[in-house]
Structure formats: C-alpha cells, structure tokens
Subunit: 437 residues, 2 copies
Amino acid sequence: MNKPNIPKGTRDFLPEQMARRNYIFNTIRDVFHLYGFEQIETPAMETMQTLMGKYGEEGDKLLFRIQNSGEKAGAAPEKGLRYDLTVPFARLVTQYRNEIHFPFKRFQIQPVWRADRPQKGRYREFYQCDVDIIGTKSLIAEMELMHIVADVYHRLGINVCLKLNNRKILAGIAEVIGEPDRLIDITTAIDKMDKIGKENVNTELIDRGLSTEAVERLQPVLELQGSNRSKLAQLRDVLAESEVGLQGISEVEQLFDLCDASGVDLMIELDLTLARGLNYYTGAIFEVKALDVEMGSITGGGRYDNLTGVFGMPDVSGVGISFGADRIYDVLTELDLFPDDVLQGTKVIFLSFGEDELRYALSCASRVRATGISTEVYPEPAKIKKQLAYADAKHIPYVAIVGSEEMQNAAVTLKNMLTGEQKSMPLNELIDILHRS
Amino acid sequence: MNKPNIPKGTRDFLPEQMARRNYIFNTIRDVFHLYGFEQIETPAMETMQTLMGKYGEEGDKLLFRIQNSGEKAGAAPEKGLRYDLTVPFARLVTQYRNEIHFPFKRFQIQPVWRADRPQKGRYREFYQCDVDIIGTKSLIAEMELMHIVADVYHRLGINVCLKLNNRKILAGIAEVIGEPDRLIDITTAIDKMDKIGKENVNTELIDRGLSTEAVERLQPVLELQGSNRSKLAQLRDVLAESEVGLQGISEVEQLFDLCDASGVDLMIELDLTLARGLNYYTGAIFEVKALDVEMGSITGGGRYDNLTGVFGMPDVSGVGISFGADRIYDVLTELDLFPDDVLQGTKVIFLSFGEDELRYALSCASRVRATGISTEVYPEPAKIKKQLAYADAKHIPYVAIVGSEEMQNAAVTLKNMLTGEQKSMPLNELIDILHRS
C-alpha cells in the first residue's frame, strides 16, 4: 500500500503548528472583540451563480467545482468552494439585509480554496481572516481598522508600517495628467513600483498607451518627499484642478485628524504608489508591511462603495481589511517572536511507578484539575524514562512523580522540567506552586 | 436578479447563532485542554483513495467529489471533501507516525460534508468535534473521556446519562447463544432496540437468519435489571463459558473501579442494547443522552483496535468520542440553558450628539478600551434614538452618552441599558464601574 498523502497545495496542521496558528488567530480575534466586531460563518460551498464572474476571467478558472451528488442532473444548482470571504459576505448581507443591524461590524475566519498552481507560500487551501464595517461612510470606520492593525501587531510584537493611499487621489492624478479614463491602467502599473522599479513602471505605462507627456507629468507625484502632511500639502497644489482628487486629499487629512484624536500608535506612510490589484476600492487603500523582515503585505484592504451591487442591493459602502495568517506565521517564525508558552498546553503530568501508584495519581490529578490546572496522567506505569520523554515532547513544564514512598506519605514529588529541581510535598502545596507559576 | 441563496443543506451563521455555537465549542475546547488534548486540523479535501471504501457502499455514494481544476485529466489524483474526521485522522497518524508522540491525545473541530438528502436536523455541512487517545490500551483512556463528558455537560448545565457497553460482551453473548459468527447481525438489530422495540428486534433477528432458539436465549440478556454492578454479576454467570465475554465484563468492572478512584461525577448506565452502527468498535462503546429533553445521542464513541490498519499501519489501538454540536445546540435552546451573557460582546458604546462630541468620544473610548473593555463608538452623530436602537440590537449593556455639557465637564453620562439608570461621571469612574460589573 502506498503511504497515504494529501492533495497538492493542502496542509495538515499538527499540534505544535496548530498551537502557533491558534496564537495568531486568538490574538486577532481578541482585538476584533475589543472593538465590538461579531463573528459570522458561511458555508464552504456556494452556488456557482454566486461565485462566477466575481473574480475576473482568471479567477473563474481557479474555482473548485463540486460534482453534484445524489441529485438528478440539472435538478440542483452547480456548486463550488468559496474563493474568498468577500463574495460570500456580500451574498449574506444581501440575503439577510432585514435581519442585520447596520453599521454591521463583522469578522470571519475561515478557509478558502483556489485551484492555483501550488508553490512556496501559495496554497490551494488557506485561511482568510477578514474584518469589515459596512453600512457607514464615516471615516471613523477606517480609523478603527487602523487601531486594530496597531493593536494586533503590538500584541504580536511585530513592528509594522501601514501604507495608506486613497483611490480618489489616484483618480485625481489620472485627471490632471490628462488621462482620466486610464485610471486602471495607471494604478495597475504603479502598483508594481515596489517590485519592478520606476523605470519599468514608466515603460509599462507607455506600453499601455499613455502619452509620453502624461507619463512625464506623473513623475513628480511618484517622487513626493517629506512627511505625510507635507506630501498632502504638495498634492493639494498638484490636484488643484481635480474635484475628486481634492476630495481624496481631504479624506486622508480627516483620517489623520481622527487618528490623532483617538491616539493611534502606528507608523503610517502615505504611499501614492499603493493601488492593490483589486479595482473595487473607492476610497482608502491600506497595506501593512513588517519592518524587520522581507515579506510581502501581511494585511491589506480598503473602502468599497458597492459591495453588494452585483447581488442587486445598491449603495452599501464599507471598509475592510484582511490579515494574512500564513505570512504573519512566517514573520513570527523568522523573527523568533512566538512566546515561549505558546506550545505549553498541559501544565503538569503525573507519572507513576506501578498500578497502585497510578490509581493514587488519578485521584491526585482530579483534585489538581478541579482547580483549573491543565493536568495529565500518563496512562500506564511504563518505564519512567519513557514517561519523562512524553512529558518532554509535549513541553510540559512540571511532572509529579508518584512512587510507593510518596503514596505512604500522602505526598507527590514535583519536578520542574526547566530547572531540574525536585521536591516531595503534599498535594496542596503542589497546587499552590502551580497556580503561582 | 434572483435573491442570492446558498446550497441546500448548508447554513450561514449570523452573529447571534455564531455566539451561541462558539459558547459550545469554547466550553468543549476548554475541557479538552484541561485534560491535555492537543488540537490538529486536516485539509477539507482528501484524495478519493483515502476516502473510498471507508464508509461502506452507502457512504461512498455520499462523498462530495471535487472536479480537478487546472490540471490535465489524470495528472492529479481525484479529490473529495472529508466525510468525517476519523478517516483523515487515521491517514494523518499513518503519515506522521514518526513525528507523533504516543499516546497521542488529539482533538479536532472541523466541518464535514455529506451528500445526504437534507432534512430537519440533517445537514450537508456540519461540524464534528472529535477527541481521541491513541496508542495505549489502558482503560484510563476510557475513564478520561468519561470525565470529559461529565465536565463538558456539567459546564453546559445539561443533565446527561452515559450509556456504556462493551463489544467483547456482545461477542460473548453471540458466542453463548450459539451464533458466534452473527455478531454483526445481532448488534445491528439490537442497536435499534430504543427505536423499534424488542418485538421488532426479535423479528429482525429471525429475518437475519438467527435460529428461534438463539433469539430465545438472547432474551434474558436484553432484560437484565438492577444496578450496573449487579447486571455485571448476572452477566458473569450467563457468559461463564465465553472467554471474550468474561474479558469484556472484566474491562467494564475495571473501568467502573477507575471511575470510582478518580471520582467521576456522571450518571452511568450499562446498556447491553447499545451497539452503535459502526462495526469498528472493539471494546468500550459510549453514548450520551440528555435527560430532560427528547433528543438522540449527543455524544458517542468507543474503543477501536485497528484505526490505521487500512492505511498499512497495524495494531494502533485507541478510544474516542464525538460531540454533536448541532444537537447540543438544540438541547441548550430547548431547555433555555444558554447563559444570558453569551450574546454580549461589546460592553459599552459611546453615543454622541454632534461631530465635536464624537471626536471627544473617540479619545474616551480609546482610554476605556486600553483597560481591556470591549468598547464601540457609534461612528456617526445620528439621531440618538437610532444610536440607541443599534446598542439594543447588539445587546450592549452600557451606553456612554456624550453631549456638549458632558464635554465641558470632562465627563460622560453612563446609562445601564438593563435598569435604565443613568448618571453623569468622570471617565475614571465609568471605567471602574464597567470593570466591577
């Protein structure tokens, strides 16, 4: 028989990896709760009607389709696995519009599936971790997401920079360089600034049919220097003729004011080259990068004005960001930032030298556990070396050893696995020590 | 455009339902951790080779197959969605046998998919919540799962009875009634005792080809009365000639002894009609029912001696149980046992009368939130009635109202939404009150 295996691009998570992932998800979830966001879940499968045409032609090809089963052909709608959390969310908002109270602050942490070619860091099944506020145009929503970014990365110990842009500023730029209809070409090209450099971006813009003059007029904008506020001031001159451009500047300024008023502790950089691939952003655009390691964006998102239009519910504005759990995992690993106790589940394990001692250990363990301490009993009176190896492999910090002498004295010997110290003591003392450590 | 919808048999979980589900999952997870179990996850997709032939002919038909995408036909293995958590777990244990430390105490909470005909209480996507100890034959493993059942249902406030049987006792019975090879026919039939009654079970046994004599000899066993220990004593006589039967009795007696030694607080009933559909149980068989409501089994499982044999790894014994989250949800709903604060996420929301007050509220909210209190700010200075309706819909227990007077006095007005009491106070006092309530 062949060794069993899993489909390409998918992953198993064994306990240690799972514990580290849970540390990330729990940290993010705690911060979401702190700001009053509520969790939802949607099914893994959506109808193909819901999914198709939402991700462009390329995206459609990457949908995993599910064969109908147990139904007559044509009797049931075609189904596919969800490709992201945004489209199911838009579908849900439309479907339950009368039950949801707006502004709706929701988060969702679930896997998505894409039939992408698997490669390093790209999987066919991966978790997305989305947080959105919909049903309000208030910039306080943007501000709140920036607070969340600050809090999450502060708790994780990752130094980050949040890059900020505004789609309206990009539209203003397209307008003033005389190419108002080429916004998408322009943003698609300058989005690559970081990756391919200015020269190549300019070449691409020419290739996309922009006039040399327009590309030339664009250059000062790409080279703005100074503080965020000073960049905005310079931009205000450049975009003086563009109503939408000035509106974008005003939004960014207001957002900075709100951040000041509420005291957000975050490095923020106005970055006009930031466009992100998705064309549905209509206001703020966010991207977060870790400062101390080379890694792509670890969080990103923005404001969209028409989330649910495609499902027949117009004028729903919202803003959302998505945390990239896999990349955050890689950042924490590379910078060695996972706390020491992430892998610690069980706090104490009882080991015993024989059947009678084991029986005694069971009652001791029940008493320790009743005080809320995660407690195991090695289930067989195996060789102590084997029992200790188990404790070691599970990163259990304390072992309680029960031999005949301990039993006679109604005691246990507690050993600190880190320091090697050990001492015989009554059970109450052991409980005290474990609660205090 | 049609109103968007989801595939038949699948579900969306909106915030309130999600909060109640999380209460169940968190309670179960906390207890698993208390006993030192570690979480794992496996991919939604498994190869068809892993899945096929594991669930019987009927099960094979209920597998959801995934169309290969982006691969040449035949280039990639056929894939399907996981049907349960047991087969992926067996596959994982085989695959990572050299990385896992045994006894392996794992739990897994993930959705599974079955192309069953959807009906009330039966879904095509539902969560399973499995906990297993593998790699030890010690009955302490069984005992520990019984403790977990007791702790989980104690925390949830559900009164339960755990029904216990042992496959070896059933084998012994088949032996002594002279039908040792008909064990599966016998157990399949008597498993239905609760549902169809004794007469119909007897008819079915005859239909399945058992002799009238054998069926007659079976009757006293099905009618055993008295305490568990007394039933075991009677059985010891009946099964005196059967080695395997006596072994089963001895296992159950030892298990009762272990439960006594460790002080398990659980109503346990030896039930010889308990067989459960699955034929792979080899020792203990468990089933848990809620006492105060008519509902099927809410937890079940047992000992198996050959989990991974089908993947080429023989002699792996383990014991496991599965908690039925959907049925537990229904029990808690029917008995009105969800705690009042399950739906409470945000503790306080700041409402404001104008833009300036809103700005002031933002800084107040940041200070409250920094102390760890889940805090919202209504993002627009909308009509107070609208803001209050939002607070009400989200079950937020306190609102902090900021008007111009409050701003001038560097104060806020805190209103208790339950009692209607309200009072103006400095922010520090508000923080104190919220921490104490």
